[in-house]
Symmetry: C2
Subunit: 556 residues, 2 copies
């Protein structure tokens, strides 16, 4: 391999939202950017979380110089404890991001074994032979980084997640001047996130939400419940500020809310006076119009704080008629129905509820760049090559069209699949190879041990259950010494379907007789196959269901 | 019971979208309005469809005078074939609705056994002793009825599903004058649908969509694919008209599209010249810019026509770069991700795609009344009592607030659960009793035979699979004569987990020894319980999974 060759490989994050992981390989040095997780869809029965397949990194373990993390969201850090078990590498991240990573590593008992380096937007690292620098961006969590990797072929820029917020909360400005300077110095290839490539215009400033929350608080009577993503620290700050201005104290409900407020205020990202903060157990000592309850559960999770409060199952909090509940959030696609269930419950208790898309309520803005901001980033960076990342195909596709519209050459844009490699050598870039990649499933303590066969069985079991036929034969003769016994689970209720199961019994014996007549006895494989087929057909004709049929033959 | 007593009972349709069924009981006579079905959510594993529990009607079979159907959507007619098997009653519906019902009954082999009466908005029936009349409404399917039941207590008005469209397609006007007259004559109680009670304003006219479709067709090059609900006959008419105006012919893709176009054009609801209609198999004889393909699959169903076309698996149609695909639809909440998958596939084939909410694309309008139209209906009917129906709780709640805003007395509004009874006697209404009610699950051919135990088993099986332990004992002694044999499905791959399963084997025998020491041998119930518990704990500690554990004991 050319010593100077530069290769860029997404191992997760393209053609999907989630499990971001990008590999930048420069000669002998491999730098990994982000290590996210993704939630499974409902077809992946029993799977807890999905992480990237890192076979390629494990194969090249001795070349991996470190993991650079752009920010502290799950789709960028959620894979870390699982990946670190397979491949320990030093981690570079900003203070808040590192705080969140540490909390994860601690939970998995990995904190002592992992090497962590705190960086900031001004840090300059050299990983192996490769200089790496950063620039600050705006997003829905503080302390976000864009990454610049200085390779002999040219500069590689990875935006991380971003928006442009010219009036950010806590004055956490994005460094647009540094971005312009980077662009002026000549960017070889830009990797830019595509989450909101479907949205026209410019994402509003987070401050807009603050003004609307203050107005809602001013008009509210009774208790105020407000829910948002715990990690949206600037949102939390605005809620705290609005509470202070309306003479209310803050109480926290939900484990991740308590956790983030603790980390963020200790690290100085969140300003809240101890006098403002009321313990949940003390809340009953205050009048209802003196409190704001800041809750988890903005996506309708029934077991999160707001879900339990709405259904009347929370130890400390209850809804009274006239209380105000504010969703400072938009339902993520797929969560609309869960959120609706919570709102139904809140209305039953006669709460006033502000809910729906942030664009209609004003209580939420996105943390991602809309089309005009994506064009602004492309214009600042003026990249020779462009790889849209962090999005499903239609987002990558529309981001490509945006790049073309601001002058990037169509043939210099690569829409990749995970595992695809773009190689830069000489003055050219080409995509003609790929590396092992895919979804690694985490189920309980197992990483990657649940595959397609197990999932296929779960699918069959989930739809129509299982029917087990146990039959015992004597060792020396062809005589049935016990059974057939029919046991079913998840198929029909045995009590109510005796006739049906008696028939299965009869069919099982009938197949046996046929086999004996055909001198096929004791070909157990054949016998099982024929019982499965015959019983399966019979049950389908009678019930239009297809349970898993499992004949078990015992010989004594 | 008071001979004149009037009772109103929803058996389906309140606190849910789907399976509408409302019972109006007047003295000895029971009239049923609508008989819908609902799709199960993903927690109801293996269930195909949900229908109302009609125990109450079966108990009172001799009083049931008939089923009046307001219109031909699934949530109003989908339960008919299953309910008719349990309780045969005469069905009253308009011509198109009846056409769709017949097609269902035929499929289930019930056509000959069912008594069908064709009615229209001018019909006047007497069911038992009760006069019933109708009024025409606008909705996203033609031939919709509101129902007026003339009882000794006063008039009961059921709106069916409606919107107000002052410029309807094919001049199918709602009879607003008749509604005004009904209101003037004094309405005792109004049952009005609440689907869009969350939406402010007035739902736009269907004609708006026609104009936008024509514009999109005019600007399109290549093949045009357009998808919408097959039952939206007015939408189909506007698509056909736009095709004619842009000199394109129409081809149909998808079984329900072919079915509805057939029924609706035979019955005169859809005007399409034979010269316009091209068989799918003949489509290849035309140039791509001479055709519009009208497809099923607007909700992202992967196996519907558009789903298969998008993934390159359709026999007759394929996407070429530059083809136009139009979603003349909005994703129903919960279907956003499926629709997105289809759009991803279409972009990969370089189609131009018009997709998203109807409010942003202009390619879809709702068939349901928004807040101002709900207030218009309430104002026209001036009901003494009001029961919001057809909606989840928050929609019913907001509809209540609308009714109060136009002057209905708060204490005269009933938000009901399915099965709740509102009794009208003397000059009063009260809600203090209820009748059997609930979801009846259809799984294959079984109606109501899958209950909570079966579903709970399916849930356990789906998450972590099953582990079966078979052990055979001699009849006369305590000796294990075969096994333990461990068989698992959907848990772990047996090959990769030999050690784990060996341990299970060892534990099973160990529990046996303990039982023998404690003189508990042959207490098989206790033994099974202890094996389940001990093995369960072991597996959870090792894997953090909880498969169903099924010990099977054979005695020979």
């Amino acid at each position: 391999m050319d010593d100077n060759r530069l290769s860029i490989i997404p191992l997760g994050g393209v053609n999907e939202i989630g499990k971001n992981m990008y590999v930048i390989q420069c000669g002998e040095d491999i730098i990994v950017v982000d290590c996210g997780s993704k939630f499974p869809d409902e077809s992946l029965l029993g799977i807890d979380v999905i992480i990237p397949d890192i076979s390629y990194l494990i194969e090249n373990e001795s070349n991996v110089r470190g993991l650079v993390v752009t920010h502290g969201h799950e789709d960028h850090i959620g894979g870390i404890p699982y990946i670190i078990k397979q491949l320990n590498m030093p981690i570079y991240a900003t203070r808040l991001t590192l705080g969140l990573i540490k909390s994860k590593l601690k939970e998995h008992g990995l904190l002592a074994a992992t090497i962590l380096h705190q960086i900031d937007a001004h840090s300059e690292l050299t990983l192996g032979q490769v200089p790496v620098s950063f620039f600050s961006t705006n997003h829905s969590i503080p302390d976000c980084l864009g990454v610049v990797i200085h390779t002999p072929q040219g500069m590689v820029v990875h935006t991380g997640d971003f928006k442009f917020d010219f009036t950010p909360v806590n004055n956490q400005y994005a460094d647009i001047h540094k971005m312009a300077e980077i662009g002026n110095n000549g960017v070889l290839v830009l990797l830019s996130e595509s989450t909101n490539a479907e949205r026209s215009g410019f994402t509003p400033s987070e401050r807009l939400v603050g003004a609307n929350i203050l107005e809602a608080f001013t008009n509210a009577s009774g208790m105020i419940y407000i829910t948002t993503f715990a990690s949206n620290v600037h949102r939390l700050q605005q809620i705290i500020d609005a509470a202070a201005k309306t003479n209310r104290k803050i109480t926290l409900a939900g484990r991740s809310m308590v956790n983030v407020v603790d980390i963020a205020s200790k690290l100085g990202y969140l300003t809240i006076s101890q006098a403002m903060l009321v313990e949940a157990d003390e809340a009953s000592k205050y009048k209802r119009d003196e409190l704001v309850v800041l809750c988890t559960g903005s996506q309708g999770e029934p077991m999160a704080a707001l879900g339990r409060i709405a259904s009347g199952n929370h130890r400390q909090f209850a809804i009274f008629p006239g209380d105000t509940v504010i969703f400072a959030s938009s339902p993520i696609p797929g969560n609309e129905r869960s959120v609706s269930r919570i709102v139904d419950n809140l209305f039953e208790r006669r709460a006033r509820v502000i809910y729906g898309a942030g664009s209609t309520t004003g209580m939420h803005v996105s943390g991602h760049a809309s089309q005009e901001e994506l064009k602004l980033m492309l214009t600042l960076m003026k990249p020779q090559y462009f790889i849209p990342i962090h999005g499903e195909y239609r987002m990558l596709h529309l981001h490509r069209l945006l790049a073309e519209s601001v002058g990037v050459n169509d043939s210099n844009i690569f829409i990749l699949n995970n595992g695809d490699v773009v190689d830069f050598a000489g003055s050219e870039a080409f995509q003609e190879r790929n590396v092992p990649n895919g979804d690694t499933y985490v189920d309980g303590l197992g990483i990657g041990d649940v595959g397609n066969i197990v999932l296929r069985d779960r699918k069959v079991l989930s739809a129509d259950g299982i029917l087990i036929i146990v039959i015992t034969f004597g060792k020396s003769e062809n005589k049935v010494v016990s059974g057939p016994d029919i046991i079913s689970r998840g198929f029909v209720l045995a009590k109510e379907s005796e006739g049906l199961l008696d028939e299965v019994n009869r069919i099982t014996l009938q197949v046996m007789e046929q086999h004996q007549e055909s001198k096929l006895h004791r070909h157990w494989g054949l016998y099982k196959r024929d019982v499965k087929e015959t019983v399966g057909k019979f049950l389908y004709a009678k019930t239009k269901r297809r349970p898993m049929i499992l004949p078990i033959i015992i010989q004594v």
